[in-house]
Structures are given as C-alpha cells and as structure tokens.
C-alpha cells in the first residue's frame, strides 16, 4: 500500500497541455508567447484576488459576495497613494517606481484587511451557518461599500497610469512581452510561494488545512477556530486588496464596480479549483487566464462564455473541482 504524500500533477499538467494545444490554434509562435504571458499574468492577478475567498469558504462555509468590495477598496487606497507620488511613478527607474508601489500595496492590504475585519465582526458573524442570509447581507454590504467609495473618492473613474519602468514591452526577436505582465507574474508567484510555505511548513498552516477539512474536530483538539477564521478572513481581504492594486494598474483605471465585475471570474476559479483549496485556486486561475486570452484571440465571439465552458468541463471531469478538499 503506497500512502506516501504525493501531489496530483494531472491538473498542473492540464495547464501545460492547454498551452501546447493553443499553439497550433494561434498559428504564430510570437503571438502565442504574448498571449501565454498575458494569460499567466491575468491568472496570477485573479489568484491573488480569489485565494482568500476560497480559504474563507473552506474554513467556515461562508459565502462572501462582498469580497469584491475589498478588491475595489484596495485599488482606491493604492490609487490615492500612487497619485500622491506621481513624480516617483513617472521616473523611468524601477527603484523609484517601487518606492511608490510598495507603500501603495501596503496601504491597499491594510485598508482592505481592516475592512475585512469590520465585515467579519459586523456583517458575517451574525449569519454563520445560513447561506441565504450570507448571500443577502454580503451582496448588500458590497453595494453599500460601492456607494461609500463614491462618497469618499467620487463617482468618476480614476485614471491610474502604470509605473514608467513597467510600461511598454520587452522585445525578444519577434516576441513582445509587456513589462507590467511580467511584474504581475512575479508578484503572483511570490504570493503563491508565501502561501504555500505558510500552509505547508508552519503550525498555523497545518491548523488552516485541518480547519478547512473539519473545523469541529479542530475545536475538539483545543483550538479556537473562530480566531483562526478571523485571521484568515483579514489576510484574505488584504490579498484581495493587493490583487485589486495589480488589476487596477493592469486596467490603468480604478472604478467602484471593478470588484463586483471580478466576482464572477473569482467564483468560477474557486469552484474549478475545489472550494477551500489554495493549490486548486492557483491552477484554476491560470486556466481561466489562459483560456480567456487564447479564446479572445482565436474566437472572440466565444470569449464571454469561455470561462463558463471551462467550469462545466472541469466539473464534468472532477465534480468537486481540480483539488477537492475532503470535508468531514
């Protein structure tokens, strides 16, 4: 009997297979490279926004539609910092740009995390265990947050130019790769690596993984699952804020609805990945990003439905997602 811990490589191989399958459909190798990097970058940003939500659902069975508000608020907080440091953003120096981006990212994480803490205490806590009420109050909370954003930052779309050192493309022969997309891939990989290390190598990670499977048993072992949940909720909200910053700079603008607009994709990603699975969320986000870019190029009319089609196919293959979490 071989019970050694092993990684299920099939969903990961699917990402590679999808890339290879897209090559003949796209037809041109340089275009394929550009689309692939764009897909990976989009996937990484979606992963940042979605990873907290999948843990929140896995740990406490909470359906939080207000997660989109954390994305928008994070983007607005960062925009405020970035616009006040416009000079640093316009210098074609990586160091100068990062000196503005890092405080902006920290502001986004802090404000989105604080909003998450408030939401958990005031909105979510009274409706634990009741999905219908969770949907109603979190959708309501999302709408209220959007209106509060209008009150604080105004109703207009705020243009947010990309940092000067990360505009334009790097050319390798016939291949053009946008600098900002490479940055998004690097930030996404760093976030994934940090989450993996936390979950796989620390006691708190062990508790989170156990809590996603069976919160009642974790309590029976002497741990306060609610405290753990609050921590994960706040961290997940902060990550959504970080994803919001990256997405806002990718779109080069900020608007109050941007979080809500991302929620459909985020839900598709966490369902594809397997509710509660960070690894599944990562692979699901990559698949969604790649499919959106390939289909958008090969068959633009199918682009809108491509993610839904992907979800249907994945669920027909693995009904509980790519990496199902064994709930007990």
């Amino acid at each position: 009997m071989n019970t050694a811990r092993r990684i299920d490589w099939i969903p990961l191989a699917l990402v590679g297979a999808l890339m290879l399958a897209a090559l003949p459909l796209v037809g041109s190798a340089p275009t394929w490279v550009t689309l692939t990097v764009a897909g990976l970058a989009m996937g990484m940003m979606v992963f940042m926004m979605a990873s907290g939500l999948t843990l929140v659902f896995g740990l406490m069975d909470v359906m939080n539609f207000a997660h989109g508000a954390f994305i928008s608020v994070g983007a607005y907080a960062a925009a405020s910092v970035l616009l006040s440091m416009r000079a640093s953003m316009q210098e074609p120096s990586v160091a100068a740009n990062l000196s503005a981006m890092l405080p902006a990212m920290l502001a986004a994480i802090a404000l989105a995390g604080a909003l998450g803490l408030f939401f958990e205490r005031v909105v979510i806590r009274p409706v634990y265990g009741d999905h219908l009420k969770q949907i109603l109050v979190t959708v309501g909370g999302l709408i209220v947050c959007e209106q509060l954003i209008h009150v604080v930052w105004g109703p207009d779309i705020i243009p947010l130019p990309r940092p000067a050192a990360f505009t334009g493309s790097i050319i390798f022969g016939d291949v053009a790769i946008e600098r900002y997309r490479m940055l998004a891939v690097l930030v996404g990989l760093a976030v994934f690596a940090a989450m993996w290390l936390l979950l796989a190598r620390t006691r708190i990670g062990l508790l989170i993984r156990a809590g996603v499977e069976n919160p009642e048993m974790v309590e029976s072992l002497g741990y306060r699952i609610r405290r753990l949940f609050v921590g994960v909720f706040v961290a997940g909200s902060g990550l959504a804020g970080l994803g919001g910053v990256m997405w806002a700079m990718y779109q080069e603008s900020v608007n109050a609805q941007m979080g809500m607009q991302m929620m459909v994709v985020i839900f598709i990603v966490i369902i594809i990945g397997g509710l509660g699975s960070v690894g599944g969320c990562f692979v699901g986000a990559l698949l969604v990003g790649l499919i959106a870019n390939y289909i958008g190029y090969v068959a633009p009319k199918l682009a809108l439905g491509s993610n839904i089609l992907l979800m249907v196919l994945v669920l027909l293959w693995r009904p509980n997602g790519l990496y199902p979490v064994g709930k007990s």
Binding site: A4, E213, L221
Partner: protein
Amino acid sequence: MAEALLCLAGVNTHIGQYHILQGVDFEVPRGSLTMLLGRNGAGKTTCLRTVMGLWRASAGSIRFDGKDVTRLPTPDLARLGIAYVPENMGIFAGLTVRENLLLAAREKALDEKRLEWIFGLFPAMKKFWNGLAGTLSGGQKQMLAISRAIVEPRRLLLVDEPTKGLAPAIIANMIEAFKELKRTDTTILVVEQNFHFARSLGDTVAVMDAGRIVHTGAMAALAADEALQTRLLGLSLEARP
C-alpha cells in the same frame, strides 16, 4: 466506587425542534472505563457531544473534576484535558498521520517515548507515519483517531463507537489497546453497540433509552444478567458470546 471525574445531572439537549436528551444523570468514576450503552437513537452520541460542548445543554449541569463546565466552549473543554474521538473518527484526510498527531499535541514537538508507546499499541501508525490519513483503511483510521486522542496524557477520553464497522481482528487489537490504556489510569467513557467489546473492557456501565439513563451499575453485574441485558438492550442470544 471511586470519586466521579465527570458528573451529568438533569442534562437536557435540544437539536432544532427535537428534544434528544431528557434529563440525563450519570457519573464517570475517576480512573475507570465506563460504557454508555443503548439502542440506536437512544441519545448516546448526543450525550458525548453535549459533554464536549459541540451541542449545548439546554438544562441541567455537567461537572468535570468538580467544576461546572456546562457552558464552556469546546476548545476550553479540550484544554481541561478532555479528548474526543467522534463516531466518524474526525481524522484529517488531507494531512499525514504525523501531522494529525502533531496537531493534537499541546507541546510543539511530539514526545518520542509516548510515541513509541502508541506505536506499540498500533504498529500501523509507525508504518504509515508519513502517509496521508485519507488513504488508510477504516481500522487504521480508527487507530489514528485514538492515537491522536492519547498523543499526550489526557484526563478524560470520550470515544464514540470505536468498533463500528471494524473487522474482528481489528476489534481484538482495539480491546488490547484499551486494556493498556486502562493500565495508565486514564478515565474513559465509551459509547458502544458491540456488547462483547463492552463487557471485555467496561468497569461500570450506563444504559440509555429515549434520552434518559435507565440503568447504571457495574459492568460485571450487567454481563452476568441476561434477562437485564434483554430488557435494557434488546440483545438477542446471538449477540452474546
């Protein structure tokens, strides 16, 4: 009889609209193994879950070592030294055997000596130390669930149907393991349907029916009285070894 470590008095539990426990009174003597028996649906599992704080008692009191713990949350009860093995074993399938045990340890590291003792009780735990718990057989999962509960010394062990669905050879292993546990003077409360298992191990017994305790006493006395067994448990002749 030894002083009671756990004492339930007039405990009532409601689950939704259902009134499951209807005034449960019984005691678990310190250092003994008490069997909680009864037909399906009598309220045995609800009784254990109420003691563990997983369902709230709507009336009555639960005292542990003289202290009223009726309203204590589950993590606080666990930290008082109560370990719980649920009917579904509650193992973390996505974690390894080692991680399952590590999670149950209050100390950051596992006590090597204690671990060797557990490996002596359940050799499979050593064999599959780094294997995923979800890939173990049913019997091995039950061994893991009990190992996790005893990975450090606990004052009270609550075990819900440890022999459910297990093969006779595994049940024999369980009996030996519980005998060894008894030698450590651990106080144990076991919910059980297998009367052979219960009579092999029990010092005292409480029998439940329809949400109440209908009999308490020495296990030996119940084991010797077939008429009482039939009346309380509805045991057929085949059930008696």
